[in-house]
């Protein structure tokens, strides 16, 4: 029988129309889950293959173990017997031979106890019966057997009596509450469960993340200047997305770099109108997770470069084809991504492909970018295998890039790897020095990270920073398209390098401040004017956003206090009325890509007192992303932030969202909320 509330056939057709209208007009399109499904299928087949192998290996190993145990047991028994008390040896070996004295004693007792029976039944029968009785005689009535039993009791503890607990430190065997260890226990848990624990540092298994202690509040009285290097990387966002949407688990806090989450999105800032490579946009509003505080947004927008204006590019793809790259989310995805990029190149560009595994090799000499078929064929032929010698590969890639150097063009090595630089002379220090030196010669380095399992996130970020490049994490073809096609200009063409931001806060307006994210980009105040100090690059069309949480004067400050100075007079706020209303002054330093001397830009800023509800949609969205990042990092400064609040703010601030990135962010927040509640 049909349920009473069953929609009729006609209603189902209406329902279908309703759904179709939602998709055509409301853009409720299905997500592309292909990459996720294929990666999960591959993982599953990989895991089941490993399980089979483990069972096979386990069986073989078990035979060996049993064999060895048997030999060892024989030896021990032999040695034990040789050292045993003679009585015990007799017990173990059975009754002694008839010619032994004990046997004579027993024969005597036997014949003495049965004289009448022997007389009645005749000598032959009596002897048979006596033998039989003797064999059934209880040991308790036989002094000889009693003696042996006593010896036995001394050797084996009587089972009826409770055994005393062994002295501390002398516990042997396995408590019954524990599961038995199997041969397969030596296999790492992540191999069995198909998940990977986070690594803890060099040489440890799993993904590796640098520790990021959260920026604290700084009082303006003690720290009037905040200085940091910009960061246009977005790898952390793609990595967090993969944790949440593909693997269904919360990311480890150190995998969450809030500035990379915020910078994943394009904020529609206006580009520069004059010859400055980027425009700056400052907005101040209420802080959504702490209403007493203010939120300052510094936004930069790099000059756009249209396709035909893109300078000629000399690219060297440095591809990791080691065994660790074999899974479908690594080398196959890498090939797909590089093909997408290759298809964008033309006859002015050049591409070479260097691979590294057991030995580095030049797979494709520097070739005009218009030779798409040749480039793609070279990519198609790549196979994963061997272990990694990243250092030697990098040397070769830089050599090829130098040999084909294009003056005034883009000269860049694109390193694609899971970060597993595990063989050869490679140390992080050596690598960093190499890429730093090569960047000074005009060949920059960008890093594309792939896969999970031994992702060396910390190292890839460091290497790309030092190489005047950027670091992106490619978790699917969609991300590859975003980084290598949609944002190709930003990925390849640097329009300003060593971009530093310094903010001087006005103590008349600000009691304390906290930079949200950029923990590993903080610079000393004096580094701002030091042109030898390296900082981040900004690519064509890139947007960079930095957020400060500011405590206005008069509000309580959650920052450790410093005792009053004994030998210095406290610094008083300036009494100049013309600057009294300013909240801060933003200073920017940058160098042109081929320059050694920096230029300075300076902007004083006044807080207009705007409520968060009246802030621009972009700032609202950026604030929701930042508070999401704080929640994922279990930040002590997340205030009133909740996943629901993040959803509410972000959902109302998605704007046009042409590519659906903001809608996807909402999905990530929902997933994180569900995971956090489990």
């Amino acid at each position: 029988m049909s349920p009473p509330n069953e929609p009729k056939h006609d209603e189902l057709r209406d329902r279908l129309m309703d759904q179709a209208l939602g998709e055509v007009l409301g853009r409720e399109a299905p997500p592309d889950l292909s990459d996720k499904i294929l990666a999960a299928a591959q993982r599953e087949s990989f895991t089941s293959r490993q399980r089979k192998e483990r069972v096979m290996n386990g069986s073989k190993r078990r035979y060996w173990v049993w064999g060895l145990c048997a030999v060892a047991a024989c030896l021990l028994v032999g040695i034990g017997f040789a050292m045993m008390n003679p009585d015990v040896r007799q017990l173990a070996l059975g009754p002694p031979e008839a010619d032994e004295p004990a046997e004579a004693e027993r024969e005597f007792a036997k014949t003495a106890a049965l004289p009448q029976m022997a007389a009645r039944m005749g000598a032959e029968n009596a002897e048979k019966t006596a033998e039989s009785e003797a064999s059934q005689k209880s040991p308790a009535v036989d002094p000889f057997y009693l003696h042996k039993s006593t010896q036995l009791a001394n050797i084996r503890a009587p089972s009826a009596e409770p055994s005393a607990p062994p002295p501390p430190g002398q516990v042997f065997g396995r408590p019954l509450s524990e599961k038995p260890k199997s041969v397969g226990d030596s296999i790492r848990a992540e191999e069995y469960w198909g998940t990977t624990p986070e690594g803890e540092g060099p040489g440890k298994g799993g993904d590796q993340y640098g520790h990021l202690p959260e920026n604290p509040f700084c009082t303006v009285k003690d720290h009037p200047l905040s200085t940091f290097s910009i960061d246009v990387d977005t790898a952390s966002y793609a990595n967090v997305r993969r944790f949440l949407l593909s693997e269904g688990r919360l990311p480890p806090p150190d995998a969450v770099r809030i500035e990379e989450l915020v910078n994943y999105f394009d904020y529609g800032y206006e580009g520069p109108e004059d010859d400055v490579p980027f425009a700056s946009h400052i907005e101040i509003t209420g802080c959504p997770w702490k209403p007493q505080h203010r939120l300052v947004r510094v936004g930069l927008k790099g000059r756009e470069i249209q396709g035909e204006q893109r300078p000629a590019s000399n690219l060297v793809f440095l591809l990791d084809v080691s065994g660790s790259m074999r899974s479908p989310d690594k080398l196959p995805l890498l090939k797909a991504g590089m093909k997408l990029l290759a298809e964008q190149l033309d006859e002015d560009d050049r591409v070479a492909i260097v691979v590294y595994a057991q030995a580095e090799g030049l797979v494709l000499p520097s070739t005009p970018g218009s030779e798409h078929a040749e480039i793609i064929a070279a990519l198609e032929n790549l196979q994963a295998g061997g272990s990694t010698n990243g250092g030697a590969g990098i040397e070769l890639a830089y050599k090829i890039a130098q040999e084909n150097f294009i003056e005034g063009g883009v000269n860049r090595v694109l390193l694609c790897t899971d970060g597993d630089f595990n063989v050869g002379t490679t140390s992080q220090g050596d690598l960093v020095r190499t890429v730093e030196e090569k960047a000074r010669s005009g060949v920059f380095l960008s890093v594309l990270g792939f896969g999970r399992g031994n992702l060396n996130d910390a190292m890839m970020e460091t290497v790309s920073n030092k190489g005047n490049g950027n670091y992106s994490y490619i978790d699917g073809v969609t991300e590859a398209r975003k980084v290598l096609v949609e944002q190709m200009g930003g990925t390849l063409v640097t329009i300003a390098k060593d971009v530093k931001i310094q903010i001087e806060f006005n103590p008349a307006r600000v009691a304390a401040y906290r930079l949200i994210g950029y923990e590993n980009r903080i610079l000393a105040a004096e580094d701002f004017n030091d042109d030898k100090k390296d900082a981040g690059e900004i690519g064509a069309g890139h947007t960079v956003t930095a957020l400060y949480e500011v405590v206005p004067v008069g509000e309580p400050v959650d920052a450790p206090s410093v005792d009053p100075l004994k030998y210095q007079a406290p610094v008083e706020p300036s009494g100049d009325p013309s600057i009294r209303d300013e909240m801060l002054t933003l200073k920017l330093r940058y160098k042109e890509p081929d320059a050694d001397e920096s230029r300075l830009l300076e902007f004083p800023v006044v807080d207009p007192g705007t409520d968060f509800g009246r802030a621009s949609t972009d700032l609202q969205f950026a604030a929701s992303v930042a508070s999401f990042g704080m929640m994922l990092r279990n930040s002590q400064h997340s205030g009133d932030a909740t996943y629901d609040a993040v959803l509410e703010i972000a959902a109302s601030a998605t704007g046009p969202d042409v590519h659906g990135y903001r809608a996807e962010f909402l999905e990530m927040v929902r997933r994180a909320k569900a995971l956090a509640s489990q």
Binding site: S2, R13, L16, M17, L21, P30, D32, K36
Partner: protein, 178 residues
């Protein structure tokens, strides 16, 4: 078989499966939404459906057979998920829904239907109806808001939208010959 041939065969098989996933995943998602799943649940069930199908050593005989098979697996996964969550299947009669989907949506997972709907939106509804649809589906406006903009009674909005959907349904099904 040489290991190179085996590698090639494995690669071909993987490419074939990848093509099946790419061709049908959107259709299965839409089907699950049609059966009453919310988007998150549909995401999960689509993945479970394909994993189950790939696990069973599936053969792609024809797009129609593949689509039907995937729908069956997806429906079973939905029922299992609902049972596990101790929830009765929602008000949708799954058999009736499957019959309507097979008849109207076609083997391409609603693809042709959506294209036809795009055309019909241009020709089968008047501007007022079109505006009401946009307000409801694109701007997520409530009936009261639509009524205010179109200067109608709230009840009138309901009627207008019903007529618009009916006209579109006739147009689409006529175009598709279903």
């Amino acid at each position: 078989m040489h290991s190179k041939d085996m590698t090639a065969a494995t690669a071909d098989r993987q490419a074939e499966l990848a093509a099946v996933v790419r061709a049908h995943q959107a259709g299965v998602w839409r089907y699950l939404r049609f059966l009453g799943c919310d988007p998150t649940e549909a995401d999960d069930l689509v993945q479970e459906t394909f994993l189950e199908v790939l696990r069973k050593g599936f053969e792609d005989r024809s797009p129609a057979q593949t689509a039907a098979y995937l729908r069956t697996v997806a429906r079973n996964r939905l029922l299992m998920a609902r049972r596990k969550a101790s929830r009765a299947p929602r008000a949708v009669d799954l058999e009736a829904a499957e019959a309507v989907w097979a008849e109207v949506a076609g083997e391409d997972g609603l693809g042709d239907y959506l294209v036809a709907l795009g055309d019909c939106l241009e020709v089968a509804v008047n501007p007022r109806m079109r505006r009401a649809l946009e307000l409801q589906y694109r701007d997520r406006a409530g009936r009261a808001e639509i009524a205010a903009e179109l200067e109608l009674e709230v009840e009138g909005v309901k009627t207008l939208l019903r007529r618009a959907r009916s006209a579109l349904r006739d147009c689409v099904e006529r175009k598709l010959g279903r």
